[in-house]
Symmetry: none
Subunit: 401 residues, 2 copies
């Protein structure tokens, strides 16, 4: 029996409330050996109190040494094996602009590019056109009609766009048309399997029309396709856990990831205060709340150690707004580490704090990488975190008699 079958079999319902607060890219590194990480440098009295009364651990997002993108990072936190369910680049791009991707949709990431008169790519990013120009061109492309399918073209940013074909019988296994270099023509979309033949033909027909539509729009007089894929066939969060789940996330990507597992994506406002207010407002309507906080990751990506420390302190300050609601289980963790020293996601294990009445408390008196290393949950793969949440919420039956 695999993990997903097991949790589905054991899940029961009760009145408990689970809050999963994800501080994106929470884990960090000391700037010099033996120094403190961002989390260790931050003053976090509220998180420290939770750590004292709860239990800590370190989670491995995928496997040791593997740095996850946001997709696998969140799938793991939601209890899905991130090696079993993979999210294509086009799908992630569509999720990232809040596009409501259905099961019959093929999503494609597009890049506007420049062709010369011979049809050869001279610039793979069309001179990095302004977002407004990209949006105008997308509006033109969105008018293209292809018999038998619906077509959606949406701008992302600058030269980037998303194309979605919606229709029956569209496989998602088609090669990129981006040749990954200049000096050659764009490739034709080629199906990798029989089920994707129709998708390839539709993509070809669409590209032929697009070339005509864009012919006078140099430097953005064409576009290439990448990461053509459907969303993975994935059990819903409610099917697995029987939880009515609410996602309270500001950024589209995380709203999209929550939508991928069929959580209810709520209006989250713009700030952490807005998110906490929404949490309180809908407290009685859901069993599970996914609260996403972006800025621990973005400051890490910027390589700004003090800013990441400050963002952690802001998160700490919001904790009383969550704890006052009396969640049965409160988890604070990240989807991966984003050490400001590295300016990128990393593979390092992620601090986990779990507070619940049934915790076997450990010796920790504060929330940090080093206390998590000694914490009662040990080091574990992120995909098991939801099982721990369910257990502490009294929502799992005994396995076997």
């Amino acid at each position: 029996m695999d993990l997903h079958d097991l949790v589905k079999k054991l899940a029961i319902k009760n009145e408990s409330k689970i809050v999963l607060c994800v501080a994106d890219g929470l884990g960090g590194l000391p700037l010099a050996p033996g120094g403190k990480t961002e989390l260790e440098s931050a003053k976090t009295p509220n998180l420290d109190t939770l750590a004292k009364n709860g239990v800590l651990g370190l989670s491995t997002p995928v496997l040791p040494g593997i740095t996850p993108g946001s997709g696998p990072g969140h799938l793991g936190l939601f209890g899905y094996d991130p090696l079993q369910f993979q999210i294509g680049r086009g799908v992630l791009e569509a999720l990232g602009i809040d596009f409501d991707l259905g099961p019959n949709d093929v999503a494609i990431r597009g890049n506007f590019c420049t062709l010369n008169e011979a049809g050869i790519i001279t610039d793979r990013r069309a001179g990095r056109i302004a977002s407004e120009i990209g949006a105008k061109l997308c509006a033109k492309l969105d008018q293209i009609k292809i018999p038998g399918v619906e077509v959606f073209v949406r701008p992302v940013k600058e030269y980037r766009l998303v194309v979605v074909f919606r229709g029956e019988g569209l496989g998602g296994n088609v090669e990129d048309t981006d040749p990954q270099k200049t000096g050659v023509a764009p490739l034709d979309p080629v199906a990798r399997d029989a089920a994707s033949q129709k998708t390839a033909e539709i993509a070809k027909a669409f590209l032929a029309q697009a070339r005509e539509v864009l012919k006078n729009d140099a430097p953005a007089n064409f576009f290439t396709m990448r990461g053509i894929d459907k969303r993975p066939s994935i059990p819903t969060f409610e099917e697995l856990y029987g939880l009515r789940a609410a996602a309270i996330a500001v950024y589209p990507m995380y709203r999209g990831l929550a939508r991928l597992v069929s959580m209810n994506v709520l209006d989250a406002g713009q700030t952490l205060d807005d998110q906490c207010a929404r949490l309180e407002a809908v407290w009685n309507d859901y069993d599970f709340f996914f609260l996403h906080y972006k800025y621990t990751d973005s400051t890490g990506e910027d390589g700004n150690f003090p800013a990441k420390v400050e963002r952690i302190e802001q998160l700490d300050a919001a904790m009383p707004k969550i704890t006052k609601l009396g969640p049965t289980v409160l988890i604070v963790t990240g989807d991966h580490s984003t050490p400001s020293k590295m300016k990128s996601h990393s593979w390092h294990p992620v601090p986990v704090l779990l507070a619940a009445d049934t915790c076997r408390t450990d010796a920790a008196t504060e929330f940090s990488e080093s206390t998590c290393l000694q914490g009662g949950l040990g080091q574990f793969e992120a995909k098991y975190l939801m099982s721990l949440a369910m257990a502490h919420a009294g929502r799992f039956e005994k396995y076997g008699a």
Copy 2:
């Protein structure tokens, strides 16, 4: 997606250098409860400095409680699942005498034995004949010709030999002819599958000639066959990691294990000094260096606690010769534990030290089993160590977007 597919998909190339220094059988046990292990007793100032600036952990060679031989121990360190890839006894014996085993070779471990006039085994080890006698008898057997295959017969030590059949269409799934007891006749080689039928027939024909050749050589007037097998079909180290790998090992077995995954096996000289000199000489020619140090194992096998301590101190003294080269990632570990208290390999987790700029340092100020137990890498299966090395070397792309 399995581990091997994953690392293959994520591996990228850069200018980094990885050194994997394997102190064979490194892990130990205290002689009395609460006492110090060999590693804890040794004065290791250089390793302690590395431990302070790096990160420690404990690796489980196969699974908890499983004592590995050298084969699975090293496969795990090289990042191969030792339960997925198994090395037959004959193959290991051939590797152990530096025999360059090809993909069409079937390797067999042989034991000279004594038959009485009725063809019954009276001594399964032929009175433990001297190695020189074994070598002379092997030279005679090596003259035997079997149509359609090449035959190689090589001495190992005393009554032990290796036989290799090289040819097309030879399966490796044939029963032992050693009945594992005296008072009975040797068994016939019997194929366990259709693909090994030809191998069994060739073995039978070879044994018939061998009986004739050896008939006047009592006590070694015949030999039995064990561990008949081909080398496993295994992705090469370069296929998995894109690393140009050099093996600098003195002992044939470890050279053979490196050859099994297609590392470049270099002339390593006879001493650790020779090995370090070779490492420096070829530093610019490879990305990855497997340095094998045998004596921590052999002193453990001898049950000689102080000698093992001394050998660890000798290894420590060589560390500056490695660190001065500036490896991006330096790992010091073992393939298994060999506690002198047990005089044998054991299942106990193995100390791991990883030094790199991107380490999340832990509280350790020395390299020992007890500091490794509290180390930042936690306890993990050895097969993940290469993924950690690749990550710290910046040689893995992000998984998913």
